[in-house]
Symmetry: C2
Subunit: 209 residues, 2 copies
Amino acid sequence: MPSTSQTTSPAVGGAAKRGRPGYDQQSVLRIAVDVFNRHGYDATSMGILADNLGISKSAIYHHVPSKGDLLKLALDHALGGLESILEQPEAASGAADSRLEFVLRQTVAVLVDRLPFVTLLLRLRGNTEIERDALERRRTFDHKVAVLISAARDEGSLRQDIDPRTVTRLLFGMINSIVEWYKPGGPLSPQRLADDVISMAFDGLHADL
Amino acid sequence: MPSTSQTTSPAVGGAAKRGRPGYDQQSVLRIAVDVFNRHGYDATSMGILADNLGISKSAIYHHVPSKGDLLKLALDHALGGLESILEQPEAASGAADSRLEFVLRQTVAVLVDRLPFVTLLLRLRGNTEIERDALERRRTFDHKVAVLISAARDEGSLRQDIDPRTVTRLLFGMINSIVEWYKPGGPLSPQRLADDVISMAFDGLHADL
């Protein structure tokens, strides 16, 4: 199991006992994220959230002060998972292509483990301060992976004929698409999915002849 | 140049002379698609469109009967481009992996050539009949490419150790991401982008040692 899935994010679960019986803050957050993903964050009112939770609007305010706080908690959970990958020792030392493989594998694991949260992150439009802050943290993460790709390239383990910026974009395109189609609990395990992503990204689709 | 970019879609430009001076239907459509992509289709009213076009709502109705018709024209343009790829002779005969390479190259070309239209298509949520019809056409296209991937696999030219459904999803994830980051007119030409996609997808990132 990826260590990231065991990380306790301070963003989620902190005030678990607060609020009405039947829901803790984390359950409210999970349902809210599903509703945001279905209707879009902008189009989701506190009234729509209350309907989906089956509680009153004032009961939601027992859990969080505002819709924006729900968004912030959700995005912290997604970003915290990604950022903690780069703090692992396997991301910090060794050959650049091994570090890159580790980071990409763990990224797949976080995407799958925190699927609705990362989905919300990837669909952001940047309309509010909270969204822009989250996009900035995401860009910082992407940039650190891009640096690793360049390092693996300079080291001679990655092909030199594609601009590293294009490589980074296409790799993230492939990996981020997972949130749009992966079905947790289905026949494709998270471990197998990570293996497939690594095989396809590093060795390509052509059969070894 | 890809032949698809020269295809005259019956959906766009048909009634070019209709409407007020200064705009033909195609210009109205291009601006509308940009507004849909910026604000989301659901959140875009005819009033917002009129503001962006600098004309009155009634002037828009000279060009198209409704917002839904603009959406339909735009999606037809995106889907028509993709569907015409599969009608080319290079997609229909020869070794499956050459046909697949042709189709993927042309898909990149259509994405770049019709960027805002394909962006709109890829962001659809399926909330209306028009959107669901478009998603169905997109699924049909994706399915035909998946059949080609399976054929190339059966032929022995593609690796056998990844489920062809996973390959299809990851390939489209990589290619479709282009609409989110590619800047037309920048240093990366459409032709070079297609080469990079093909190199990365078929041969992977590892340097040949």
